[in-house]
């Protein structure tokens, strides 16, 4: 079983109130993440400009083994900034729950679908890989999720991130939902769990059991509110459940993690 870790310490992790990495720290952390064998490093949000863009560009220049991705709102200006950063993967976050669409954006589901196509088109035209994140998928209507996935797939997207933005899911629901998505769509699934009720790791393991290939983690589980799926806890659980990591590797990974945490 091949589990690909998408590390979002430098993006979602850094969004925890009170954390602010300088560009040099971001580069050092990225190199350490690379030495952990992380598949993909979500390096930041180019739309923030300034020091953030500097840090991301320097990480891209390092030529790491890990793939580098950047995070965007579903916004053409955000995406223009991201394209300038030369990151390999451009992630577009798409609010899919009615709470997010109506209250936060004050838009409609139709607007979401139209903009989704526009944003994907912009990225694919420039020859980059695009992944779509369904923000607040756990509270979204299943029918609309299907429409979003179908629209993304039609535009050439091969990977969808399912986000439990407010951490309310439980294992059985995660398993059933991932299984259903896997069966209905030929797409890679990436899982993004928040830890509001202490279940981010358990839910991520459940998602992998059902066929999710990509798991979002942060070092130390840092992130908004009670944080994200903790990298060390996840690999420990994944090792016990799936036997995917060697014991020697595991101890080395914990040492590297300690070093990364010292930057916080």
């Amino acid at each position: 079983m091949d589990i690909k870790i998408v590390d979002t310490t430098l993006r979602d992790g850094e969004q925890r109130a009170g954390i602010a990495f300088a560009a040099e720290s971001k580069v050092k952390i990225a190199k350490l993440l690379d030495s952990l064998g992380i598949y993909q490093i979500e390096a930041g949000i180019p739309a923030m400009g300034g020091d953030e863009v500097k840090g991301i560009c320097r990480i891209v220049e390092c030529g790491l083994k890990s793939k580098i991705s950047v995070w965007n709102r579903m916004n053409v200006n955000d995406i223009k900034r991201s394209l300038e950063c030369e990151a390999e993967i451009i992630h577009v976050s798409v609010p899919v729950s009615d709470i997010q669409i109506n209250s936060k954006l004050k838009k409609s589901r139709e607007w979401i679908l139209e903009n989704l196509k526009k944003c994907i088109g912009m990225i694919i035209e420039r020859g980059r890989v695009v992944t779509i994140g369904m923000e607040d998928a756990s509270r979204a209507d299943n029918g609309f999720i299907q429409q979003v996935i179908a629209a993304a797939k039609a535009e050439g997207v091969n990977r969808i991130r399912y986000a439990d933005t407010v951490g309310i899911l439980r294992r059985k629901h995660v398993f059933d939902e991932m299984k259903r998505m896997k069966e209905n769509y030929e797409m890679d699934i990436e899982i993004h769990m928040h830890n509001d009720f202490g279940m981010a790791v358990a839910n991520s393991v459940s998602a992998v059991m059902a066929g999710a290939k990509f798991v979002d983690c942060t070092i130390g589980g840092i992130g908004e509110r009670a944080g994200n799926c903790d990298y060390a806890q996840f690999i420990c659980a994944a090792q016990a459940c799936f036997g995917v990591f060697k014991e020697d590797d595991f101890n080395q990974k914990l040492e590297i993690q300690k070093e990364i945490l010292s930057y916080g």
Binding site: E14, G50, D196, F197, G221
Partner: protein, 354 residues
């Protein structure tokens, strides 16, 4: 979101924090232990697990609280304890001591047998005990461990085992692989008789248990199962726990972490301002907390304007943009959020040209 309506029979919440606390730090004070008992009851715990060390510290068990006493076969059974506690918990060591268990059962029939089971395939040892007649004086089995119960399939399996054995079942998951709370909530939803937890998942062992506050809040918010709880007392209980154990609770700990309702990122700040449910699974007031807007690297202009307004300063978008640049720079220099005085200083710099 799943919305499960459960039967009228609420699961019993058993808390085992006290013996763990006293084992770890035997300098805890008597009055603090008693305060902890009352906090647990107020929070929504039905039964408090204690042992000889806890009783020695308390001297007298407070009235109005239910206790489950962990008794060892080496102990002389104190008649006062026999009268005062609601039940006993034993392990297999006590089970095999001829005559002792019958003596105990005659005096108090509410006996729980704690058995460690790490994998679902090992549940058959329960059936072996039953077949050999060892369980005739046992009212409830407590399953301890469950560390390798990686999927929720255990619920139906164990429910069937309970029904076949006609015995009560108490679930006490450990948190070695970070799945204890998930298992505990499955137990609540699965109509088991009891779930045993500890405050913040605390244990003298390295792995801990399911966290009481996560299970209670999860039961209320996610399962809506009608447990009688008062989660607003959590901050007070946290302070008591930290004082007794001379430990800090991590700032991001689910439900009780100091900073879990602190938000900074522009997107989140904007969403919360318009409707807090965009980025909050439940209202902070439910657990005795308040949300708190922080200013730092990820802030947006609207947050700057709002924060300055809180400080009694009016500011437009253009000015806020200039302030934001300096806020980000200062936040990176500090590697952290800005205090109110930092923001006021930056405002002065922008407006007074210092």
């Amino acid at each position: 979101m799943p919305n499960i309506f459960l039967s009228d029979q609420p699961i019993k919440i058993i808390d085992r924090t006290l013996p763990e606390m006293i084992y770890s730090k035997d300098t805890v004070k008597r009055l603090d232990i008693i305060s902890m008992c009352w906090f647990l009851k107020e929070l929504g715990v039905h039964t408090i697990e204690i042992n000889r060390q806890v009783v020695e510290k308390m001297h007298v068990l407070p009235k109005g609280l239910d206790f489950l006493y962990r008794i060892s076969a080496d102990e002389k059974v104190d008649p006062l304890i026999l009268q005062r506690v609601n039940g006993f918990i034993i392990t297999r060591r006590e089970l095999y001591k001829t005559g002792w268990l019958e003596f105990l059962a005659e005096r108090n029939p509410d006996i729980t047998l704690e058995i460690r089971i790490e994998e679902l395939t090992r549940v058959k040892k329960l059936k072996r005990l039953l077949q050999k007649g060892w369980l005739k004086d046992i009212k409830t089995i407590r399953i301890l461990g469950m560390n390798r119960f990686f999927s929720s399939e255990w619920v139906e399996f164990l429910r069937n085992v309970c029904n076949d054995m006609r015995i009560g079942m108490d679930i006490c998951p450990e948190n070695r692989f970070s799945n204890a709370t998930a298992i505990a909530l499955e137990a609540v939803e699965g109509h088991f008789d009891a779930v045993t937890v500890s405050f913040s998942g605390f244990s003298r062992r390295i792995y801990g248990y399911a966290a009481l506050e996560e299970v209670l809040t999860g039961s209320e918010v996610l399962l809506k199962c009608g447990l009688k709880t008062n989660l607003k007392v959590l901050p007070e209980g946290c302070n008591l726990f930290m004082k007794m154990m001379k430990l800090s609770i991590p700032n991001g700990k689910p439900i009780i972490g100091k900073d879990i309702f602190k938000y900074e990122s522009g997107i989140h700040a904007d969403g919360i301002e318009k409707n807090p449910t965009t980025y909050e699974p439940f209202d902070p007031g439910m657990v005795g907390k308040k949300r708190n807007l922080a200013i730092g690297k990820h802030s947006g202009t609207k947050a700057i304007i709002r924060k300055l307004k809180e400080l009694g300063i009016e500011c437009g978008i253009e000015e806020a943009n200039r302030i934001l640049e300096l806020v980000r720079k200062r936040s990176i220099e500090k590697n952290g959020e800005l205090l109110d005085r930092d923001l006021k200083e930056i405002y002065k710099v922008v407006y007074d040209g210092y």
